[in-house]
Symmetry: C2
Subunit: 496 residues, 2 copies
């Protein structure tokens, strides 16, 4: 029985979305997938399509993981939609962006795979029932309009059809099932897992241990560890529990530790990304960041309340903009994202319905005039008006001489009151490092760099693809491409 | 028998220095130390002083590791020498430098230990026979003149007295002994090692396996992995075999892999430092970097040959200056370090004898006039002269408005021909990340963050102290402080 509890199209503002599928646990499968986000579900579908008997294990009570909070935006270089709209792009062009923004830490071979597989994987998702809108958009760091959003405007637009597909394929997604051990045989092959059945997150004495065999392989797709204070502070002491995260509370590191214990090489795990523009007025991921990154970065501007001035290229990558925002906050200022009514109309096209939620939860506020806005945030009104005047001139000339921002072709001078504002404060968002894999998703041993037989990994739990900085919309691409690839590889290896 | 083959005071220019001490291998010791650089020898002395029967195992034919290439410069905040000379400094001040330069990635508790133990450890080295000069000097990133150099002007000034001391203490330093396995008992305690006796580096089929027990503990002090192309490129794909390293060829990662295999947490290993100003005219470490960092950063300037201009704060930290140099090189320019005869005289005071070697090996060249210098490197003579004129004005005014360099109090306008030049090209130098430890050098498990019983680590093989960027002269401090501390901790734990 597939239980789907979805509370509306823009549910990524909610702490988590309930998906549960109950089916009696079998003692053996061909393939066990750990984690039920984009990577895990893609891997499960792909393995099942390739003939495997599959189970997905999810430790939380609901499926979806952090993907249930995703904005559902995928980068697809050279997509059919770009071709239809005459936009020039290519996998190599995105690879160059990833190399530049990732400071050369991403492995070029992995980047080649993920960028070249993006377009075919995108077509494959459509076969699984995912419906994508055709408005191409961008995100900070992308050198082309290559991102597409699901019809629902969130990750649910991927999770729901994937869950339906798994039901058709007879693949159970077993929730409340926490893997505590990756089991190897004496030859060092991973042959299954030990899990706690009926586990309740937060009740660490809950659950009953069960051994489940995996004849052909175990695919790790458990996501990152942004919510794990102990593990993340060992890697970066600055990331204390005082900092908020966009992640669901189950985004913890116990399987990173377990993978390491059985010999997986964990690489670049200290590269942990903030989402720069999240709203302090919302818990968790929220919707404010969509406003700030579309309303503010494409069709508006960002202001340091202390000076009334812009302080960065609003379309910069996540690390650059995070650093710029923290600099303002550390100096006692606040950072706000602002646009006008025309900008909000553009935002509404990209994220339909979002403004209703943001107005209701207070993360976006409306001001009739720039004077009102200035007063509300203690900004000098003259300084604010001058900033708008200068930026409007930049929009008219098509050139941002102050910060070199690549101005969107659709941006208009910001002169149409009322004005809309979200406050911005970075939250811990994505762990770029993790388990080392070969380019076919086989987990590599720290001892000899060779694959650990029977063990595969895809998505945020892996490392070495994004390097120092992940570009927005690339996680969805990475999870779908490598999830699908993991399902294929495990079955290819099974036939050897 | 102690064999010491040292070819003169400035032998750090040589590929490696021979120290060998033969003594029959015993089947059991209280403490086994792996590695014979600063950290390993300090640990061995300290454990022996605390009553242990100790052996040092070194895989190479000669002892010393990378420490035999060290410039022998130690940062000592709040040292007796600073106090005598009225220089204000403190552990907290160096801790602030390390936090700033290390981008907050170094653990504050580890930094507290290493900075507070520096002065007492410095006094302890004197008791072991190390003789330090009393000329305080600085290095890029240090906010005070807090560095001292051994009388010999190199790391030999530490290694030789330490080796003598170990002989007195009856501690063998066994070379050609490659540890291939850290052995645990069924309770998970490290109880010894398996090593290849009579191993010859490069002949991987050489050596005979022997098991050696360690009753109280094994101390890992095997240095970094800058010379290990396979391991380092997995962590940072840019660091291919095309790049040179300052390290001795034995600086490889097999024990990093082995420590990980038995459950040690490896952190921040992707932070790998270049020494920015090494000479392409020398193999390995060479002496050119001493010229460029003292002659050039304190008493001279650096020039981009393409423009004839300065291109960075020459006294900046290693990452900043490395990035600046690579930027020039990538654009097809060369980077040179220049000073005049007065600057060379100052350099001679800091590194006596170095100029003789550098002139002989061609890493430093002499030019009678700026015109000759310009011609030799294809620089516009006018641009070069203008750069010198401007920089001389900065020296006279005491203020570098172009790059904000903190000008040394002893720098004089560069008007005294002849001029001396070394070319600069970064080489891979130091691996900041590695094995996670508690602040008493106990190795921490990746499974539960608790110490792995019987296992300790100190020096470059550890991670989490220097963070993103190690400041010059801090490695000697780290190795000596934590080496000594490891010897103390293992014996303290043994008495529990």
């Amino acid at each position: 029985m597939l239980q789907v509890m979805v509370s509306g199209a823009l549910c990524s503002a909610l702490p988590s979305i309930a998906f549960a599928q109950t089916q009696k646990l079998a003692p053996e499968y061909d393939v066990i997938v750990i984690g039920s986000g984009f990577a895990g579900l893609a891997a499960a579908i792909s393995a099942a399509e390739n003939g495997a008997k599959v189970a997905v294990l999810e430790k939380m009570q609901v499926a979806g993981g952090n993907s249930s909070r995703s904005g559902g935006m995928m980068a697809i270089p050279g997509s059919s939609v770009q071709k239809e709209q005459g936009i020039e792009d290519s996998p190599a062009k995105l690879a160059a962006d990833m190399k530049r923004i990732g400071l050369g830490l991403g492995d070029p071979e992995h980047i080649k795979v993920v960028t070249e597989h993006a377009a075919p994987t995108f077509e494959w998702t459509k076969k699984q029932g995912v419906v994508w809108r055709t408005d191409l958009t961008g995100k900070g760091g992308h050198s082309a309009r290559r991102c597409l959003i699901t019809e629902e405007g969130t990750g649910q637009g991927i999770l729901i059809p994937f869950m339906k597909k798994l039901k058709e394929l007879g693949v159970p997604v077993l929730t409340g099932m926490k893997v505590i051990r990756l089991d190897k045989n004496k030859d060092g092959r991973v042959i299954g897992v030990t899990a706690l059945e009926d586990y309740k997150f937060g009740k660490e004495d809950s659950g009953k241990p069960v051994e489940i065999k995996a004849k052909d392989g175990v695919i790790l797709a458990f996501g990152g560890f942004s919510a794990d204070v102990g593990y993340r502070t060992r890697l970066d002491p600055k990331l204390t529990g005082n900092l908020k995260t966009t992640n669901q509370p189950g985004a913890t590191a116990e399987l990173m530790r377990e993978a390491s214990r059985i010999g997986a090489n964990i690489i670049q795990a200290d590269w942990i990304q903030f989402l720069p523009n999240t709203s302090p007025d919302e818990e968790g991921m929220g919707m404010g960041s969509h406003f700030a990154s579309v309303g503010g970065s494409l069709y508006g501007l960002w202001i340091n309340t202390k000076t009334g001035k812009r302080f960065t290229d609003e379309f910069g990558d996540r690390k650059t903009t995070t650093d710029a925002i923290f600099k303002v906050l550390d100096a006692g200022g606040k950072t706000i994202s602002v646009t006008d009514s025309v900008g909000v109309a553009s935002f509404n096209k990209v994220r339909p319905g979002a403004m209703d939620i943001l107005r209701k939860n207070g993360a976006v506020k409306e001001y009739a005039t720039l004077d009102d806005l200035a007063k509300a945030y203690g900004i000098s009104p003259d300084a604010l008006k001058q900033t708008f005047a200068e930026f409007n001139k930049a929009i008219e000339s098509g050139k941002d001489t102050e910060f070199g921002r690549k101005l969107d072709k659709d941006i208009k001078p910001l002169t149409h009151a009322p004005y809309y504002v979200s406050e911005m404060s970075p939250k811990i968002h994505h762990t770029m490092g993790g388990i080392a894999t070969d380019t076919s998703t086989r987990v590599l041993s720290v001892v000899d760099d060779k694959p650990i037989p029977g063990l595969y990994a895809a998505g945020e739990c892996t490392g070495g693809i994004h390097g120092a900085v992940r570009i927005g919309a690339n996680a969805v691409m990475d999870c779908l491409v490598n999830g699908k690839l993991a399902g294929e590889t495990v079955m290819k290896d099974a036939k050897k």
